[in-house]
């Protein structure tokens, strides 16, 4: 199957975000649902400088989480990326020994404390991996320019 992937740069991206307002008439949402706490609590975010010790293994078993092993000043931590960040086609290139800055929330996952990584700064680029609600973003490797706050919004 043939697919096309236009390579647009940061300038185009910025232009897009500036004009992405919905064009149809609609009212604001009548209600906002509900009071259940977010599993990813952005108020608990931490930002850490670290050295990459290990990268996620491409294992056959999906049970193995895509951990990024990081050496921080306070010790080793496991950083969890997303499947989109690890695509074999165009995923973020991360190598052991690289210096990174990660922002995320420490969460308990399968009896392990892991850093749910929202942003990853590496080689002078900042990748948006998750939304501030912890949901994955498609193709963070292509959203390298989207270091400004995401707007979201309607389809």
């Amino acid at each position: 199957m043939k697919r096309w992937y236009p390579e647009l740069g940061a300038l185009v991206l910025l232009v897009f975000f500036s004009i992405a307002a919905p064009t149809h008439a609609q009212t604001a949402a009548a209600t906002t649902k509900p009071a259940i706490p977010l599993r990813y609590d952005v108020s608990k975010e931490v930002t850490l400088d670290a050295t990459v010790i290990g990268v996620p293994e491409k294992s056959s078993h999906a049970q193995s989480q895509p951990f990024l092993v990081l050496q921080t000043k306070s010790g080793l931590i496991n950083g969890r990326l997303t499947s989109f960040a690890q695509n074999e086609k165009g995923g973020i290139a991360i190598r052991p020994g690289q210096q990174v800055k990660v922002t995320g929330v420490m969460m308990s996952l399968q009896a392990k404390q892991v850093l749910e990584v929202r942003t990853l700064e590496i080689d002078g680029r900042t990748y948006q991996i998750r939304t501030k609600r912890g949901f994955p973003l498609e193709h963070p490797e292509r959203n390298v320019a989207s270091t400004t706050e995401l707007k979201g919004g309607l389809l």
Partner: protein, 629 residues
């Protein structure tokens, strides 16, 4: 011989004659005891045999029209004895109805006939609309919808719309992509392959399983993978009235989005109320819109446009019939696919929601992959029920619930908007917990005569489309009426499996989407075969796997309508092979419609949800036997 002797002989002969022939004549007859199937493909073969009574005369085989190999077929031997088989070979083209005649050479030439319809693909032909959502070869979440005219010989043409856009120039948007050629090949069991060749996308290959002559489950199986539906079209002159709708896809920043609601088409104006769950902004409910426009309707493939709707500034739809359309967000910055179904002319209230079965599943842009399937018993705005949920990657222990008791409340007609409602599953200890992260649905009622899972089916109608408005998950699904039924017979099965675990030791990646489509006989076991589209080769060292399975079906004695299928071990028969040790649970809406979900107890860390639909015999052929004494 003297006179006396001659007289005795004559009397004896007369007595013999009248005893044997006149007063009790022997019955001579013929019937076709080994008949052809109702339908045969061109060039197909079938065994035939006829049996005589009262005679052992030879039998001559002929056919109409034309009595030639090219017009109606041929016989391996044109003369048989009673009970002897002959092999019938259908003509090389789809000539339609053929009459086969077996004529006895006995006195009076009694004969019997049988009919067989010579048609490609079990007679499946005409205009069909398709749609699906999935993950393409570039790992873009995508939606695809289109329509094709399938000719009697299986060749086809059509058009489609493809969108995997997610902002920033990611993905692709192909509007009105012409399908210049293709082919449908379907076996007698309804399983087949659909190939499309389009101008922009190129060649696409799908696996189909026809539930009946007007509806098939479909998956893409060519390096992209997706699940959806293929449905016979009956094109109305225009669309009008109120519809429920639901779509899912990816927003302009690459985040997951689900959107659903109700809309009314008046002329070319569309207005309505909708809910949305956006992975950036979170769930919102009760937004209204107006100013959306229904474009010129409709080309010969039932394609039309909608501009400035809540599902995109630029959207297209493909009409199935007056009551059902497939919707695609065709913006170049975001994408989504889904459906809209007529609400009819009735008024909905809380009492419109009866005992129901629901399915709810997110796509790959979920924070936590999940699916939920269950059954509820509503009563005056409250409900109780039982459901299964499977969440992976949440860190919750356990990561699934089987047959969890749930309760909560619902409202139909919020704000006076007909058929627009919500359902909340009661929290546990002040947090989501009744069904883990699945806590809130938007529900959008459909006409009680409209079957949302098989839009041409005259039974199984009603219920609602739903979107998941929970805080930590988002997705889409449906909620359909539950009636008593059995889980036996022939079924088409499909599921969309996310983050599948596997048993192969060296696949290239560690996650992805796989889509399954199969056929099975349900009884004590669910036994059958199928195809898994697994582009990332997580389950095997091939992108498309052939599989077999035979799994025990156990009715849940505590929850009528719920079944366990465990272990549901899928054996891969191609490539390196292997097995996938799934477990699954089923909730039954009716004998013809069930939903199933992967049981998290299988520890595979994958999540699947999907459809199980009863199949009927395909083909429009008519077999009849005529006996002439």
């Amino acid at each position: 011989m003297n006179r006396k002797s001659l007289g005795v002989v004559l009397v004896a002969l007369c007595a013999t004659y009248f005893a044997g022939c006149s007063s009790n004549p022997r019955q001579v007859g013929i019937s076709i005891t080994t008949a052809p199937p109702a339908s045969l493909a061109p060039g197909g073969m079938a065994q035939l045999a006829a049996t005589e009574t009262g005679t052992t005369a030879s039998i001559d085989w002929t056919c109409t029209p034309g009595n030639s190999a090219s017009t109606c077929g041929s016989f391996s031997t044109t003369t048989t004895t009673s009970g002897q088989a002959t092999t019938y070979t259908a003509p090389p083209t789809a000539v339609g109805q053929v009459t086969i005649t077996a004529t006895s050479e006995a006195k009076g030439a009694p004969f019997a006939t049988a009919s067989v319809n010579i048609q490609a693909n079990q007679g499946i032909a005409g205009n069909f609309a398709f749609y699906m959502t999935g993950l393409d070869a570039a790992q873009d979440i995508y939606s695809l919808a289109g329509a094709i005219l399938i000719n009697a010989d299986g060749t086809l043409t059509g058009e489609q719309d493809f969108n995997s856009a997610s902002g920033g120039g990611n993905g692709s948007t192909f509007l009105d992509d012409q399908i210049t050629s293709g082919n449908l090949s379907v076996g007698a069991n309804g399983v087949g392959t659909l190939t499309l060749v389009s101008t922009a996308v190129g060649t696409e290959i799908f696996t189909v399983n026809f539930v009946n002559n007007s509806h098939a489950l479909i998956i893409e199986s060519d390096g992209s993978t997706a699940s959806g539906s293929l449905d016979l079209q009956t094109l109305p002159s225009t669309l009008t009235g109120s519809y429920a709708f639901a779509l899912s896809g990816v927003g302009s920043s690459g985040e997951g989005v689900a959107i659903g609601g109700v809309l009314t088409i008046t002329g070319n104006a569309i207005a309505g109320t909708f809910d949305e769950n956006d992975a950036i902004n979170g769930p919102t409910a009760g937004s209204t819109f107006s100013g959306a426009t229904l474009g010129a309707v409709v080309d010969t493939f039932g394609r039309g446009t909608i501009t400035n709707g809540p599902f995109g500034a630029s959207a297209v739809f493909y009409t199935i019939n007056q009551n059902a359309i497939r919707l695609m967000d065709m913006d170049t910055t975001d994408s989504a696919g889904g459906s809209a179904f007529s609400q009819g002319s009735g008024t909905f209230s809380n009492s419109s929601l009866g005992n129901s079965v629901f399915i709810d599943q997110g796509n790959f842009a979920e924070s936590f992959l999940y699916a939920a399937v269950g059954e509820i018993v509503p009563s005056a705005g409250n409900f109780s029920g039982v459901a299964d949920v499977n969440e992976q990657g949440t860190g919750l222990t356990p990561s699934f619930l089987d047959a969890a008791s749930i309760s909560g409340s619902y409202t139909i007609g919020i704000g006076g908007t007909n058929g627009y409602g919500s359902l909340s599953i009661a929290m546990v200890n002040g947090a989501a917990g009744g069904l883990m992260d699945v806590s809130d649905f938007g529900i959008y009622m459909v006409d009680p005569s409209v079957n949302v899972n098989d839009p041409n089916n005259s039974v199984g109608g009603g219920g609602a489309l739903i979107i998941d408005l929970s805080t930590n998950v988002l997705g889409v699904g449906s909620l359909v009426p539950q009636t008593a039924g059995s889980f036996t017979g022939n079924y088409a099965l499909g599921f969309q499996d996310f983050f599948p675990g596997g048993t192969v030791t060296n696949p290239p990646v560690n996650s992805g989407e796989a889509d399954f489509l199969g056929g099975a006989v349900a009884g004590a076991n669910l036994a059958g075969s199928g195809t898994i589209s697994d582009p990332r080769e997580v389950l095997n060292n091939a992108q498309v796997d052939s599989v077999t399975f035979s799994a025990p079906i156990t009715a849940d004695s505590s929850n009528a309508g719920r079944f366990t299928i465990s272990p549901f071990t899928v054996t891969i028969t191609n490539g390196a092979g292997g097995t996938v040790p799934y477990a699954a649970n089923v909730y039954q809406a009716s004998s013809g419609q069930l939903f199933w979900i992967e049981d998290g107890a299988d520890t595979l860390s994958s999540v699947f949800g999907g459809q199980i639909q009863a199949t009927s015999t395909l083909g429009a052929g008519l077999v009849k036997k005529v006996k002439k004494p």
